[in-house]
């Protein structure tokens, strides 16, 4: 049942409605007018109340005059840039990588404001067709530059049957009150093996939203790693869909949150056919007065027998004031499945710490070793050495307070 009385609209909603109308997206504008930004009463936004957290939507970003350069350089990677929503021409693409530009949104429509705004406002779309065993990491470097701006950019990636690739998306830019709305649609062909790493390194003043939609054909193997380590408010919404027998997804993510930050990873995985599996594993590390949210929903269709899926969230609190919130949900319509969820939360283990100290390792270094150990499960499977090192660098930098 939908409430019918009108909601009171704030400044953020007013700007958003105007932007949607100007883009000719009347339906999306109407939806925001009627419902407003989602509050805690909307299930999927229960812990990330956008009405409270998102007080303003800046004007749509103009083309950038200057760009700051990538926030994460990975030696050997082939890098493309999307600056303020515009796809920049890049160096010659490696073999098997076809770069193109199209128009419009890339996400499947659903009742979600971030998704509908993305589909309404994304204009230039980066399209990548990937084929064969691609050795080079393909990096898409998203940046929002200049004064505070609202950016909706979109990327559509097709990975051909039997192909393999590592796609890295980085998000950064000037430290202004940007609102970034980034959409990625990634389709994996039969037996494709894909690693998709997305890292938010935006400035603290920025609000970062990303929606990643995955479609896995027979035998496709996906590993995702979302890292939130920048924006004051960050939310990544993951929609993996297992559409072919034998498909498997390791859906992983890491919220690194410091004082004043709010990071949210929300996942909704659909097992649509029999014999698919997924292993969602998320970790949160918090310090100061901060909030980390991880929500994970597993939906198993009626004939998706033999589904094997387990959602796990582990939190590590480096301060007492932080909040780690965890919400697992199972929606299972098949009867012959192995599904589960679990979550844990704690501080650094005192006995482990003492063991390291007793071997002569000073406290700060010992803590770093333990934190690295805590997230090793997420970083270690990233096999590209340069990327692995870059990820480790982000974590180490965060620990040092950057």
């Amino acid at each position: 049942m939908r409430q019918t009385f009108p909601v009171r609209l704030g400044a953020a909603e007013e700007s958003l409605i105007a932007q949607l109308k100007a883009a000719g997206a009347d339906q999306a504008a109407e939806r925001v007018t009627v419902a407003g930004l989602p509050t805690r009463r909307v299930e999927a936004y229960h812990y990330t109340d956008l009405k409270t957290l998102l007080r303003a939507i800046p004007p749509l970003a103009q083309a950038a005059n200057e760009a700051s350069g990538t926030a994460l350089r990975v030696p050997g990677a082939y890098a493309l840039s999307i600056v303020n929503g515009a796809v920049l021409n890049a160096a010659t693409a490696p073999e098997g990588v076809k770069v193109g530009k199209t128009h419009g949104g890339v996400l499947t429509n659903r009742d979600d404001v971030i998704v509908s705004v993305s589909n309404a406002l994304a204009t230039e779309t980066l399209s990548l067709d990937l084929k064969g065993a691609i050795e080079q990491v393909v990096q898409i470097d998203h940046r929002i530059e200049g004064e505070a701006g609202h950016v909706a950019d979109a990327t559509k990636i097709f990975v051909a049957d039997d192909s393999s690739v590592v796609v890295l998306e980085t998000f950064s830019g000037s430290d202004a009150a940007h609102v970034g709305n980034h959409a990625t649609y990634l389709a994996l062909g039969k037996n494709a093996v894909v690693t998709h790493v997305t890292i938010d390194l935006s400035g603290r003043a920025t609000s970062h939203f990303a929606t990643n939609e995955y479609h896995l054909a027979d035998g496709a193997q996906l590993r995702t790693l979302v890292i939130h380590a920048g924006a004051g408010l960050a939310r990544t919404h993951l929609f993996p869909k297992m559409e072919g027998e034998g498909a498997h997804a390791d859906v992983t993510g890491l919220n690194l949150v410091s004082d004043g930050q709010h990071s949210d990873i929300t996942m909704e995985t659909q097992h649509a056919v029999p014999y698919t599996s997924s292993q969602p594993l998320f970790k949160s590390i918090t310090r100061g007065r901060s909030k980390s949210v991880v929500q994970g929903k597993l939906i198993v269709a009626r004939d998706a027998q033999k589904t094997d899926a387990k959602f796990m969230h582990q939190g590590l609190m480096l301060s007492d004031e932080a909040e780690i919130l965890s919400k697992p949900e199972l929606e299972i319509y098949a009867d012959d499945v192995v599904c589960g969820h679990g979550s844990t939360c704690g501080k650094l283990d005192e006995d482990s710490l003492f063991y390291l100290l007793s071997r002569g390792i000073p406290k700060a270094e010992a803590e770093t070793i333990l934190v690295r150990g805590f997230i090793a499960e997420l970083i270690d499977p990233i096999e590209d050495e340069a990327l692995n090192e870059a990820l480790q660098g982000i974590v180490d930098g965060w620990l040092l307070g950057n």
Partner: protein, 253 residues
């Protein structure tokens, strides 16, 4: 006379308001191996933790001198760099931390604290290989996360291997024999004996005499209710084995 490696004077310590160590006095001269025997719960592990500087314990009285220097104010890692090593009764499993990474961090941290340069990777690898060979610690074990999935024997061998790498002036071995079968006991004892060089001192804690057939102590102390109640030569261990600890009950009260 040279300074003893360890001197404990009238050490009292408690945990959560409960006094566990009730006036320990102990002197270990350079190069000597002393054994502490006592029944379960008498406070032996507590003594080892207090020596190593575990935070949970409060020292209410007394002194601990390591090579003449009072270590009570030192942090655990400073004590390690000063030459103290504790082989844990229950070595801690640390998932996600590669054994090699840990060993390198430990060696280099201690070297740095002593103003020595870090080991190069080849130097480090060679040292690990040598120490590992003696204690049957193979490269497969070293590839695993620290102590994770190690059997009881593997854990104890790994502890002694760490000791061989870190070259302490005082090694405290807390029930290194527990959980070991005869073969493992021999490997571990051989490893320990190889580190007896006339200079390094050891404090071997056990409640079975068995270990002391393999690591023959210079002095045996009987520990009861938080302090040393009798000291003697290695024959004291045999007497204890025959008579048990009953004679000492109540003596410490």
């Amino acid at each position: 006379m040279t300074t003893p490696v360890l001197e404990i004077r009238n050490l009292h310590a408690r945990i959560e308001e409960r006094e566990i160590l009730k006036g320990v006095n102990l002197v270990i001269p350079q190069g000597e191996v002393h054994a502490i025997m006592g029944r379960n719960g008498s406070g032996k592990s507590t003594l080892s933790y207090v020596l190593a500087g575990k935070e949970d314990y409060e020292v209410t009285e007394g002194e601990i001198l390591l090579n003449g220097e009072n270590i009570l104010e030192m942090e655990p890692h400073e004590r390690a760099a000063a030459g103290l090593f504790l082989a844990f009764q229950y070595p801690i499993e640390i998932p996600g931390v590669a054994t090699m990474t840990f060993l390198k961090a430990a060696i280099n941290a201690q070297r740095k604290a002593r103003g020595e340069g870090e080991l190069t990777t080849p130097e480090f690898m060679r040292a690990v290989k040598e120490a590992g060979a003696q204690l049957n610690v193979d490269s497969d074990m070293l590839k695993r996360p620290l102590n994770v999935g190690f059997s009881g024997g593997e854990k104890k061998r790994a502890e002694i291997m760490q000791m061989a790498l870190l070259k302490p002036s005082l090694a405290v071995l807390d029930e290194t024999d527990s959980g070991l079968d005869i073969d493992a006991l021999q490997v571990v004892s051989k490893g320990v004996n190889a580190l007896r060089d006339g200079k390094r001192s050891m404090l071997v804690i056990t409640h079975y005499q068995r270990l002391l057939n393999h690591i023959v102590p210079d002095v045996v102390h009987v520990f009861s209710d938080g302090r040393i109640v009798e000291s003697g030569d290695k024959d004291l261990a045999l007497q204890l084995e025959a008579k048990g600890y009953a004679d000492y009950d109540g003596q410490a009260a």
